[in-house]
Symmetry: D2
Subunit: 390 residues, 4 copies
Amino acid sequence: MKFITAGESHGPSLTAIVSGVPAGLRINEEQINADLARRQPKFLASEGQETERDHVIISSGVRFGKTLGSPITLTVANNDAKQWSDRMANFGTPPKNLAREVVPRPGHADLVGVLKNATNDCRNVFERASARETVVRVVAGGVAREFLAELGVDVFSFVTRIGTAEFVEDNPIEAAPEYKPLDIEMSEVRCPNAEATEHMLKMIKVARTKGESLGGTFRVVATGLVPGLGGFESGPERLNSQLAAALFSIPAIKGVEFGLGFASAALNGSDVHDAITHTKKHGFSRASNHAGGLEGGMTTGLPLIMTAAMKPLPSMTSALPSINLDTLESEEARSDRSDVCAVPSAAVVAEAEVAFVLANAYLRKFGSDNMEDIYTALAAYKKRLAAQAR
Amino acid sequence: MKFITAGESHGPSLTAIVSGVPAGLRINEEQINADLARRQPKFLASEGQETERDHVIISSGVRFGKTLGSPITLTVANNDAKQWSDRMANFGTPPKNLAREVVPRPGHADLVGVLKNATNDCRNVFERASARETVVRVVAGGVAREFLAELGVDVFSFVTRIGTAEFVEDNPIEAAPEYKPLDIEMSEVRCPNAEATEHMLKMIKVARTKGESLGGTFRVVATGLVPGLGGFESGPERLNSQLAAALFSIPAIKGVEFGLGFASAALNGSDVHDAITHTKKHGFSRASNHAGGLEGGMTTGLPLIMTAAMKPLPSMTSALPSINLDTLESEEARSDRSDVCAVPSAAVVAEAEVAFVLANAYLRKFGSDNMEDIYTALAAYKKRLAAQAR
Amino acid sequence: MKFITAGESHGPSLTAIVSGVPAGLRINEEQINADLARRQPKFLASEGQETERDHVIISSGVRFGKTLGSPITLTVANNDAKQWSDRMANFGTPPKNLAREVVPRPGHADLVGVLKNATNDCRNVFERASARETVVRVVAGGVAREFLAELGVDVFSFVTRIGTAEFVEDNPIEAAPEYKPLDIEMSEVRCPNAEATEHMLKMIKVARTKGESLGGTFRVVATGLVPGLGGFESGPERLNSQLAAALFSIPAIKGVEFGLGFASAALNGSDVHDAITHTKKHGFSRASNHAGGLEGGMTTGLPLIMTAAMKPLPSMTSALPSINLDTLESEEARSDRSDVCAVPSAAVVAEAEVAFVLANAYLRKFGSDNMEDIYTALAAYKKRLAAQAR
Amino acid sequence: MKFITAGESHGPSLTAIVSGVPAGLRINEEQINADLARRQPKFLASEGQETERDHVIISSGVRFGKTLGSPITLTVANNDAKQWSDRMANFGTPPKNLAREVVPRPGHADLVGVLKNATNDCRNVFERASARETVVRVVAGGVAREFLAELGVDVFSFVTRIGTAEFVEDNPIEAAPEYKPLDIEMSEVRCPNAEATEHMLKMIKVARTKGESLGGTFRVVATGLVPGLGGFESGPERLNSQLAAALFSIPAIKGVEFGLGFASAALNGSDVHDAITHTKKHGFSRASNHAGGLEGGMTTGLPLIMTAAMKPLPSMTSALPSINLDTLESEEARSDRSDVCAVPSAAVVAEAEVAFVLANAYLRKFGSDNMEDIYTALAAYKKRLAAQAR
């Protein structure tokens, strides 16, 4: 299962094609639209931001709500495309009064993109290197999520820090799989704890007043995984490698860890490694999940737990020092009306990215043609594991 | 440029094939052997560990010390292979007294590997899922390093933490590129600071006494990179994604960050984004390097700085609780004579992995056939950038 | 440069996303529409077939007619989608009177597709496994063709056989690059010879009367290539391998050959290998082009010449014997109103496939970021070759 | 399952690494050596050619004769490496009297390779671009063949033409799967027909006298395949595309066709498409196999039948006209003592290439971790198909 996205931030629309999806999988547009809604954080509404909801249209690969096995086309219109149609026209000559963007914004792809692609207009870079693109990653990820759901796998996320406002937990790794979707999504910042939510919202409010932006951290959790996904035979087969590649493909992600992560670097081995246990009922398990669900590059069967760090948004109301590409003189970068913080949204994008990696691990293990054969292979595997543990 | 490794820990040898190397690149076996030596940490010698040095043999792809463009075969013999030749024979019947390994060790690939591959002997898993395999990653990475060196790029690493012994720096990101290879390699733990080295060695000594193992953190730095390597056009093109995949493909890595990394999540935007500057002499630059050398998924031209966290070694002299696969009863996992800490070695492996990603970014940007054409294309690019910044 | 296509034959539209296109490439929608027109053969008009022309819409990756480096979305609407909207609805319940397609047609993907994908309706297979999908291959290929045109490379095709009507040439390989586009496209069957065209049209007319379908052969030619594209270092780098994979990815292609192809199997070595020549003006060349422009898996600089064989269309007005999937009784497969012959169209699709392979060979050799750097690298290469030959 | 090969023709050895092989597969070195022997054609012996047999050494990925799931290293020594050790030294300075090869041989990679890789010695090209490399393709393919054999799939080949000596059959496609391995391997030219063998040997003898070389055609057949391998959903999934890429990756292959191939281009549709049949005992089948076992890019379950054309060897005892790279004057290319014809060997290489493609199609369909789970998934699939056909 692969996806590719296309589309500029102010172009007519964003498109994703998802290929390699098994035939016979039920797809629910409303479920995908709900994911899109989760990506558009509620606290923005109060800022008078666009409230027009993103909305997916599926135009191939699905018939009567079930996949055909052929590639799936998913499109999300850019609601304000019309007012950009002259500056972002795909064809025709530029409008006479077209203002090139010549002051690259620090923290953005602007400057390096302009150098790499030999252009003189930062817009030619940032229209694509924009968080807007992640809309169709969420949409594409919806297909992977439906596939995983069919196999009993749930992927969710929640926010654990915004700026210095941290959601402090006693035992974060053990707690992670237990949070309830409802508690997460009820929070305006997608944090399952009411007090921490309050704190984070306050922090956002302050930052907004100061024209600042904020980053944060979030956790992505996957439950219901069978053991043995991924592989140890070579580096690229390690699921850690694939999952980290997926998370770091999201703009503004600056750190990723699995389970205890950086904290494990300071501990003794006997405090880190998860003792192997066994019960007649559940077979093999672990006394703890410090590893975050991966051992030797493979799922252990315990919940997969990753934490990611996002830097503050580089689009800010306060201007940052830069250089005008035409004059080569100092000039402040354009200050935008902007979100203060995109961590709750980024976490939803991360769910999509993680879902793809996990879906592929299932397909490699259980075949990829159609749901019926995949169910059969998965059941046979579970049966074999049960036998091996009895 | 791609590599694949093969070989078991106690098999006859480890092999890597590196393909896609441009023709006309000078290769130096001694340089690669020096990297191998750096991977075999000095403090182990004092533990009475094997002092026999690993040693590479190159048997294809190189003629009179220069690459032909054809795949390069690099082999490292396992020095103790002979004494394992009965238990690890590639062919023939197992020795009668062959003891299967039936108590999977926590923190290792043992248990999940046995389930995944439907075997009843953990050795069939851990012979491959072993740090020994990283020997040939270093060897393969040596080819990438020679290529980068030709283009003015240097990749190095140093240790910043072992257990609770941390190398505390005032401004770690700005300091990182300044450390001297000699200072690093003179340290028994590959830390450029004498005091921190002392502290780390003490920590290792204590851990050894207690039968404990230790993890830590290390930094990988690349200098001399042109801006514009990688890409922002789609997620997988982002160099962050490729670099993280490479680092997380190394066993026991549990966290990776770029530049300020997790710390940036707690800061204000204006304290994170690197102001763009310009001088006649050097063209565009930045007032700081909080981003760690990457913006929009591309190199900025400033040093690339990554930090990785490694968990404590799962091979320990103290035993960990486990289950016997045959009896399904509780049993302590085998306790090995073992290294206490492999962080200094892992950092050398990480250099190799990073070198490959960077080498490929150069090849995609400047062509891949032969060194002569690559020099020409690189020079032309630098000339264009200089013109754009004047 | 990669493309992926999506879309069913009677769904709302077909979509292609082309990624990895260098920035700064001029794209011409009209040129792509002209390719689409070439794919809809003229002789069909006389059959009263749909005359509504296919038409591409580009909605991303291009601004003011130039590529941004970001993925390009190309869509072609299915003109008769409305009348299929109930039977091919992406969502909702099937119409009550929905007739499943239960008699698989020989020569189609129908039967095997139904088995592979565990479905009971051949339409779930043949809506995708349809020649209609090649519309967006042509559209995607248009991007590759514009890129190649900028570098002086022209890709074209012509028909050499329809059924037993063959275009007999004295020296087909030497003649191939000399045919004029106008002569080809003026022919209703895309054959540059008037007499052969006549013969082929007559053959089609007879076949139509008999309810038969016809296959044929066509040639794809690329001129203006530099020597040294592709590679000999490993099998998959050989351009022959990549080109054949591209041509055989087109439905109904049953044979492919390069240069003399199968004929060379019957000749003596001294009659096959192309003597190497040299002139001061043009440097190295060959006395003949029996190899069809490839030696050792690389372009020689002479025209690339491939011939492909297409089987007769499996959609026929005469019915073929089959089995009803529900009853398992013998039943004739549905007879369709159908084209008699699609060879002229398939040749246009083949141009697109070949163009992609060649474009990628250029990108690997000369870098991939933007046209400006690619021009520079190409010029430097030509200069080096000239120096080597002087 | 992937393989990569390394090694020069007169270097110390050739190496292949095969990765992605399921755990628990029995590997037989003798079987692989037997394939190597089949690649060294018997009729050469009479020419006084080297009779020293190639011989594989497996040094990783296999324990007690069974795969571990980890990459398999296969090495074949070059028996005459010693006498080349000065001219082909991997390191050190070239011998003083080293003669560069400066007259590129027509039909070889020599000239284009020298241009591509910016070298002045054709040996730097032809040491790799040599038929000798295919030795380790055969060896690597042996792993794929053992895997397929376990699943009931047999891949074999035979020669159908050498020069103008053709093995004329009444109904070649129907006959192909029926030939007996013994009859094929007993023939000095690997042709199952005694009379045709005689004719071919005579042709070789004549050619040798004249200093000529010969090409020919051969057929590759795979039996025992389940239906539904490959896919129709996108072009690259079509098995035709993958198989053709594999065959054309072999040096000197100039044409490939499936089933009737080029002949089908001249026939009416009703004479080409294979009527679908059904019996209670065997389920769905076909009245003929003109398609050569593939429909819609997927296996039909009937034998897979491909024919390939090989050009005459470019290494000839008669010299071909060329140009001296140093003087740019006309000069005859080096005439080698050489085989007259390598078609019987190339067919064995083709078996290996085809085996890899088929093995991968099985792995994608039935999972890839270990033989036990693959047997289970395959059995379940066969059961489902049987149910669908009852």
